[in-house]
């Protein structure tokens, strides 16, 4: 049970201006339980009337020690913790982790598994952006978008349940491939989604893109330049809304992203509205990738046949002594990667999601560090919010699309 620390002005004196000490500005607490903070985020605001002089974010309320916990589990068992980091990008977290393990083991993934991974992570990106468009519009009092967005998100979660048995905490990607092949209904379900979704995006845009109230709340609010974004390590749609087309799927392709034809949407304004436009366009681009990957989904195995690292299929265990030994070794001791450290990054819906994985040659990871995009993206909040009104702060928090599970780990 985390308690809020009582904080006197003396403790944060180095963070507020001299005017706060004199009593000219007001230091006000906002959160950690506040509907607009998308989780448990506490902000200490220094206010001059209704104008924000400074914002001091206070995080850690959702810290669950996942990095420490993963050190105590074998590589396979540690994977279930990765879903719990960024709970709107569970499949993407699995992908980042299994890619790091595969890099450490130098393990190949069959093409069918790669294509299914791409389809599911792109669907997850759409689902995450749907939660973002719903909640950030809700913060600006546009209530109906939320209801429409969650209707479509439910279709995606149904597809995840169909594949993995779980709506959110899937753990469907495993080192060397997938848990199992997708069921026969999968293709129809995804095609159905691909067919109806473009019209649904048009519906959201009809509600927001030219809505004068929405424009008033978002245009010119929370501006960021490319230089500031790089200085603060900001990645993802926020960086692309400043005009730099940096997308790891494009510049450092993984999982066969180079075969798919898609654009990296950018805007130059760098404000809340530009971030909105970038994310809406990203949903359409992701849909293009899903369509292409589904059209040329290859047949074949979904798991590597290197049984030193990947469990053999159930059918082999009864007839092959070697497979039985591999199975037994993998589920008791686990596999032992060579000594070394790798850093592997993927493009999550929020930006660069990196995993630093260090092995000491034992079956448990020696150190796992998560470079989570929300952590750096939230750090830029004081820069974005200075000089704006409190009501604009709500729009800004919504537009940087933070997930506190991703920040606090």
């Amino acid at each position: 049970m985390t308690q809020i620390q009582e904080m006197t002005l003396d403790e944060i004196r180095h963070l507020v201006t001299e005017r706060a000490v004199q009593g000219e500005t007001v230091v006000l607490n906002m959160g950690p339980q506040h509907p607009s903070t998308h989780g448990v985020l506490r902000l200490i605001l220094e206010l001059d009337g209704e104008v924000i002089v400074n914002v001091i974010p206070d995080i850690g309320f959702l810290h669950t020690g996942i990095e420490k916990n993963m050190e105590a589990k074998t590589y396979q068992k540690a994977e279930v913790m990765t879903d719990r980091l960024d709970y709107l990008n569970t499949v993407g977290n699995n992908l980042a982790y299994v890619m790091a393990v595969e890099k450490l083991l130098d393990l190949d993934v069959p093409p069918r598994a790669q294509a299914i991974r791409v389809i599911l992570t792109e669907l997850q990106r759409i689902a995450s952006h749907l939660v973002w468009i719903g909640t950030s519009a809700l913060d600006l009092a546009a209530m109906s978008v939320f209801l429409y967005a969650f209707r479509e998100r439910e279709m995606i979660l149904d597809i995840f349940e169909m594949c993995s048995g779980q709506r959110m905490m899937t753990t469907y990607f495993r080192p060397g491939g997938l848990w199992r092949d997708v069921p026969v209904e999968f293709e129809d379900a995804v095609r159905n989604f691909v067919r109806i979704f473009p019209r649904r995006v048009d519906e959201y845009e009809a509600l927001l893109t030219k809505n004068p109230l929405f424009l008033d709340r978002t245009l010119g609010i929370g501006k960021l330049t490319t230089e500031q974004a790089l200085q603060y390590g900001v990645t993802g749609p926020i960086l692309r809304a400043t005009g730099l087309a940096w997308d790891l799927r494009k510049v450092r392709p993984y999982m066969g992203y180079e075969q798919y034809d898609f654009n990296v949407p950018t805007h130059t304004a760098g404000d809340v509205y530009a971030r909105y436009l970038v994310r809406v366009q990203e949903m359409r681009e992701s849909l293009k990738i899903v369509q292409q990957a589904l059209d040329k989904l290859p047949y074949g195995p979904v798991r590597s046949n290197n049984h030193k690292y990947v469990p053999p299929p159930r059918s082999e265990i009864g007839v092959s002594m070697e497979s039985l030994i591999h199975h037994f070794k993998l589920w008791t001791e686990g596999f032992t990667p060579p000594k070394g450290a790798v850093y592997s990054a993927v493009e999550s819906p929020r930006g660069e999601l990196g995993v630093y994985l260090e092995s000491d040659g034992s079956p448990k990871p020696y150190r796992v560090h998560w470079r989570t995009p929300s952590f750096d993206n939230l750090q830029v909040l004081p820069v974005l919010a200075k000089g704006h009104l409190i009501a604009d702060l709500i729009a800004i928090i919504g537009s940087i699309d933070i997930v506190l599970g991703d920040i606090d780990r």
């Binding site: 995080i59 603060y232 390590g233 730099l244 450290a341 790798v342 850093y343 990054a345 750096d376």
Partner: protein
């Protein structure tokens, strides 16, 4: 190693005393603490490594000298390169100079390393705990810090565990 990265590493070797390690196509540059700020300044300004992707640490306890490695993962967007800089830190009063003046997002990352590993960053503008509560004892990601657990309560020992289980005070 890619040829572009090769030239960066060569330029670094001419200017700073360092060790190079390579694993799975990634390049790790080991440098001592006194050259850290100069090296990062050079990488940012002359080799266009504009972004600090992440900053973290590893604890090699019970090894004492060096006990920690502090890791700076740098990205160059202009040239599409990655480079990892590692700095060994000893066990006694571990500290490093801050890099917040070079990369602004090092601010929270250094606070996290201080919180989790107890490595001080000299000259940091705001070195408070960030993820753990302010009155927390110890640094959780150190290897000599035990991983806690909660005892499972069964019917036969429910009351006994309940008596000494820590609850939030009224």
């Amino acid at each position: 190693m890619e040829t572009v990265l090769q030239s960066v590493v060569q330029a670094l070797q001419e200017r700073f005393p360092l060790q190079i390690e390579e694993f799975r196509g990634e390049v790790h540059v080991l440098v001592s603490a006194e050259h850290l700020v100069g090296l990062l300044n050079y990488l940012k300004n002359d080799e266009s490594f504009e972004m600090l992707s992440t900053l973290t640490a590893v604890d090699y306890w019970p090894q004492q000298q060096p006990r920690f490695h502090v890791i700076y993962q740098l990205t160059s967007l202009k040239r599409n390169l990655s480079l990892q800089v590692r700095v060994p830190v000893g066990a006694m009063e571990p500290s490093l100079p801050t890099v917040t003046r070079i990369y602004a997002n090092a601010n929270w990352r250094e606070r996290e390393v201080w919180d989790m590993f107890g490595i001080r960053f000299e000259g940091h503008p705001d070195l408070r705990r960030i993820l753990m509560p302010a009155d927390w004892q110890g640094h959780p990601l150190r290897k000599d810090y035990p991983l806690g657990y909660e005892e499972p309560q069964f019917t036969f020992n429910f009351d006994e565990i309940n008596r000494r289980k820590p609850y939030a005070k009224e």
